[in-house]
């Protein structure tokens, strides 16, 4: 793989890689470092990478594994490998959402989902990965991913609706 090909196929993914790294590491600097480290690692593996049939999936898988390794080093005694940024806004309310904290509310709800559902939802809706990329990362079939995603979205929506109704005073 030439540098030009690498830039087009891999470095171009950096803007999509960052939110995922940030979600996992919950730290801007660490996320930036992780993206850069993974790109360097992938550059060193460029011969192997070229032969891969799902380059994007492999890139995100490498990033995820790298972030999990970083988390292990940072928090060896308190590892949650599907870490979701805890911004301390578990007291969800639509008023907070209106102040631009919808993300915290959804993250708090997502944290309570079953692990695979949560991971699929995060990778697809939050990180914006494609089904094929998620399939590579989680080693699941696309049809299974769609089912898990549907359940996660419906669950989150139901909980959001409760919060919304409560805040609007429609629920006693």
């Amino acid at each position: 793989m030439t540098q030009k090909e690498f830039n087009i196929q891999v470095v171009a993914l950096s803007s999509r890689m960052f939110p995922m790294a940030l979600r996992l590491l919950n730290n801007n600097e660490d996320a930036r470092d992780a993206v850069q480290d993974v790109l360097v690692k992938l550059w060193n593996q460029r011969r192997k990478l070229k032969k891969h049939d799902n380059i994007n999936g492999y890139v995100f898988l490498t990033l995820r594994n790298h972030c999990l390794d970083m988390l292990k080093k940072l928090r060896p005694l308190n590892l949650d490998h599907t870490s979701i940024p805890d911004s301390g806004h578990n007291n969800s309310s639509s008023s907070k959402a209106e102040n631009g904290e919808a993300l915290s509310i959804v993250m708090a709800i997502a944290r309570k989902l079953p692990e695979v559902q949560r991971e699929v939802f995060m990778l697809k809706d939050m990180d914006g990965l494609e089904y094929t990329e998620i399939a590579e990362i989680l080693d699941l079939k696309e049809s299974h991913i769609r089912v898990l995603l549907s359940r996660a979205r419906k669950e989150i929506r139901a909980k959001l609706q409760k919060i919304y109704d409560y805040e609007k005073g429609t629920v006693a």
Partner: protein, 144 residues
């Protein structure tokens, strides 16, 4: 496609990326008016977390690494070439193929001696037969 249809597809897991992007645009009103918009509001907030990732900076860092790699490769090659040259020189000095045909001083002396002996033997004149003057059982008288 209407927003409601797209939302149905979204919740049933059937929505594809281009439709999802359309829906994301349509649901991006602030403040959110319902639970659906609240969800998409969160998604949009997360998607906008670019954190100052600069693609050009990353490309530059990769280029720097590539340049270093090339330089290291060149230095390594030069080291190998220099090592090979030293080995060849030392090898030539120690195991000079010409020296195998050269004889030691003793061997050379032996060869020269034997050659000289051979030459001298060949150059030696045959002894002339003595002229016998008188001969009996007890005495032989001859002149050379």
């Amino acid at each position: 496609m209407k927003k409601e249809q797209l939302l149905d597809k979204y919740y049933s897991g059937e929505i594809e990326t281009p439709e999802f992007e359309i829906l994301r645009e349509e649901m991006s009103s602030t403040p959110p008016k319902d639970a659906d918009e609240l969800l998409f509001n969160a998604i949009n907030q997360h998607r906008h977390l670019q954190g100052g990732i600069n693609e050009q900076e990353l490309i530059t860092s990769i280029e720097t690494i590539q340049f270093r790699e090339k330089r290291h490769k060149r230095i390594r090659l030069l080291r190998y070439a220099a090592s090979l040259l030293v080995l060849l020189t030392v090898g030539t000095l120690i195991f000079n193929p010409g020296s195998k045909n050269q004889l030691s001083t003793d061997e050379q002396f032996d060869i020269i001696a034997s050659s000289l002996l051979q030459v001298s033997q060949e150059m030696e004149l045959p002894e002339p037969a003595p002229q016998i003057l008188y001969e009996d059982d007890n005495i032989v008288i001859y002149v050379e």
